[in-house]
């Protein structure tokens, strides 16, 4: 084992790819291991979530409070961010504003270099994935150690995350053991406990020597300047507590107005996310605390397309998202194709709307079609984002952005129409195979790119099993 077994982070591997959803989905559907893992994962989490949500007689009231809090905060986002800046500053932190990922990345790199370090420890964060922070740091000669077990698996395997919450869901234990062994971690066996133990030993020395930690944030409280990180493994606590310097990169939509708001979000997030009454660790810190934890704290407030999404009257509700991943776990399309097919750090139903909203349609035109509009995502969403409505709205935009319908428009609209109805779907499969005119709706892209992006037999089998 070399001192820096993951120095290859210096090679920018693609976090996102440009393969449109239909083709990517086809590739992924052929991967039966991925399909088995995803199915097991989504089924397990769905059941756990349903059980703990069912325990709360006031779940709907909590959801409504969560939705209304987020919607009201977004309406006056400028006021709340200014208040947050004031509170964090008063508590001894330093607040920075970044228009885009490049600005935020440069700030993190400058802070790290200012402290003379060539490595930082990092907590899994979708926001830092979104801006490719690790790649940007590597270009400056700074290694970012991912410390979540799953992120470590993804990083050591030079792979991409496929699920918001369990990014290595597409790897089974023997594959993980192989990745670890190849990287010099020396797990005793492929049992989950041994694999976790190997990761503990490997990361521990990095935690104990780290000078700079980097995190995202689940929430930040405008009134008090408190920042909240919700996690399971304890690597978050390590990164937030042991380094001398802490840098938190936070999307501007994560702000909550008051301390009291936590009483809602600390209930809805863990139950929706991992299906637990409460996640193992939640850390809340306010600026700098003398004698406890980092004595230098930087909070970077990141726009990177969020104000673009905010300007979209129908789409802005996507900014309410608290990244719980409940919508992924109930989505029939996601369960079939996995996270990679979405070609974005934000997969699943929320990814299908947030990606084009943040980045603009260019390059993600196909994402709003990655759905059957069945509505399950809306029903589980703890902040009540009406994903189907936003999808339809974005489909309109996608089509309107071309002067005349392209081959893709027609194909995607057909795909959406077919995904939208079980009987239509089954019919299309039968007819598609027989090559009748009805089947030809697939042809515009199936002719050039292969057959329908779904394995017909198993999708139908799945559908009948689960949706009767």
């Amino acid at each position: 084992m070399t001192d820096h077994p993951t120095r290859t982070t210096a090679l920018p591997w693609p976090r996102r790819h440009s393969t449109p959803f239909p083709q990517a989905a086809k590739i992924k559907l052929a991967d039966t291991q991925l399909r088995r893992n995803l199915r097991k994962a989504t089924t397990t989490i769905r059941a756990k979530r349903a059980a703990v949500v069912g325990e709360l007689p006031d779940w709907e009231e909590l959801r409504e409070a969560a939705r209304a809090t987020k919607a009201a905060t977004l309406r006056e986002l400028d006021v709340h961010l200014l208040r947050l800046e004031e509170s964090v500053t008063a508590a001894g932190g330093k607040v920075h504003w970044a228009r885009d990922g490049a600005e935020a990345n440069a700030m993190v790199a400058a802070i790290a270099r200012g402290h003379g370090v060539d490595e930082v420890v990092k907590i899994k964060s979708l926001t830092t994935d979104e801006i490719d922070l690790n790649v940007a740091l590597a270009e400056q000669g700074i290694t970012a150690w991912e410390t979540d077990l799953a992120e470590l698996i993804v990083q050591l395997g030079h792979d991409e995350s496929s699920h918001i919450l369990v990014p290595a869901i597409h790897k089974n234990r023997s594959e993980i053991q192989q990745i670890f062994t190849d990287s010099g971690l020396d797990p005793a066996s492929d049992s989950p406990a041994d694999l976790a133990g190997a990761a503990r030993r490997y990361l521990r020395e990095r935690f104990l020597r780290a000078k700079v930690g980097v995190s995202g944030a689940n929430f930040a409280i405008a009134d008090t300047g408190s920042v909240v990180v919700v996690e399971s493994e304890g690597n978050g606590r390590m990164c937030l507590t042991l380094p001398e310097v802490l840098v938190t990169v936070m999307g501007i939509e994560k702000v909550l107005p008051t301390w009291q708001d936590l009483e809602v979000f600390l209930q809805v997030l863990p139950r929706s996310s991992t299906g637990e009454r409460m996640n193992p660790y939640t850390s809340i810190w306010t600026g700098v605390a003398a004698g406890d934890g980092p004595q230098e704290f930087h909070l970077i407030l990141l726009d990177n397309g969020r104000t673009r999404a905010l300007a979209d009257e129908i789409g802005r509700q996507a900014l309410q998202c608290i990244r719980c991943s409940a919508c992924l776990n109930v989505c029939p399309v996601y369960e079939r194709v996995g996270g990679h097919a979405y070609g974005s750090v934000y997969p699943g139903p929320i990814g299908a709307i947030i990606t084009p909203l943040l980045q603009g349609m260019h390059g993600s035109e196909s994402l709003p079609y990655a759905s059957s509009l069945c509505g399950a995502c809306y029903e589980v969403c703890p902040v009540k984002i009406d994903i189907p409505t936003v999808l339809v709205h974005l489909r309109d935009e996608s089509v309107q952005s071309h002067t005349r319908p392209t081959v893709n428009d027609v194909a995607f609209r057909s795909l959406a129409w077919i995904f939208g109805d079980r009987r239509r779907y089954e019919k299309a499969q039968q007819l598609g195979k027989l090559g009748t005119p009805f089947g030809s709706v697939f042809r515009p892209w199936s002719a050039s790119r292969g057959p329908l992006a779904v394995a017909p037999q198993s999708f139908r089998a799945w559908w009948q099993e689960n949706h009767r």
């Binding site: 919607a71 077990l149 989950p192 409280i221 390590m238 501007i252 009483e263 104000t307």
Partner: protein, 200 residues
């Protein structure tokens, strides 16, 4: 224009003309009534695979000594000394360095409060809870919660807490489900969490 002004002006432009901010309905339960909150707290903590013991105040020091066994443990300076009278503990004053904490087998602390509905222990970074590193670096954590510190619900806990100190919610030992969704207890932080509830 600075990035700050730029982002703020983009926000203002984006929401110009939108409906005014709505009022937030708070129709959810503020408190949680389960008869005996302490019993419920004990059940919920045990549900996370943490071990839970109920002890009378007079027996506390003896039970702490029994739990600690031969371990070398650290304690916060604010932990009542009579709670650990039966053991030879390393007091975190002056503050132990990270390598020193790493040499310990465990930590014995108090807590700020307990939440019955979720089985959560809340540490507030001071007094008997200790600063955060004490309950993080050693591999074993014995946490002493007084029955009177247990509240029913998350809203009750949030209302009680003082935001300006570092706060840690702990619900069972650290865990991961990242490998084929098998739960593995104890990744980073203490792999074992034992809880003593002191009944008066």
């Amino acid at each position: 224009m600075s990035a700050r002004d730029d982002v703020l002006s983009r926000i203002r432009k984006a929401v110009a003309g939108a409906e005014p901010a709505e009022d937030v309905p708070r129709d959810y339960r503020a408190s949680y009534d389960v008869g005996n909150v302490v019993d419920h707290f004990a059940d919920m903590v045990a549900d996370y695979k943490a071990t839970v013991r109920r002890v009378g105040r007079v027996d506390l020091a003896a039970v702490v000594a029994e739990e600690v066994g031969g371990r070398r443990v650290g304690v916060p300076a604010g932990l009542p000394t009579e709670w650990y009278a039966g053991i030879d503990a390393v007091v975190d004053a002056p503050p132990l360095s990270i390598p020193e904490l790493d040499q310990l087998d465990g930590a014995v602390t108090g807590a700020r409060l307990g939440i019955a509905e979720t089985g959560t222990i809340v540490l507030d970074g001071g007094g008997r809870s200790g600063r955060r590193a004490i309950t993080l670096v050693p591999d074993w954590h014995l946490c002493i919660v007084e029955a009177s510190q247990v509240v029913g619900s998350v809203p009750q806990a949030v209302m009680t807490l003082e935001p300006r100190v570092p706060i840690t919610f702990i619900s069972g030992p650290s865990a991961t489900s990242d490998i084929e969704l098998n739960r593995v207890e104890g990744v980073h932080g203490p792999r074992t969490l034992n809880v003593l509830i002191v009944d008066d």
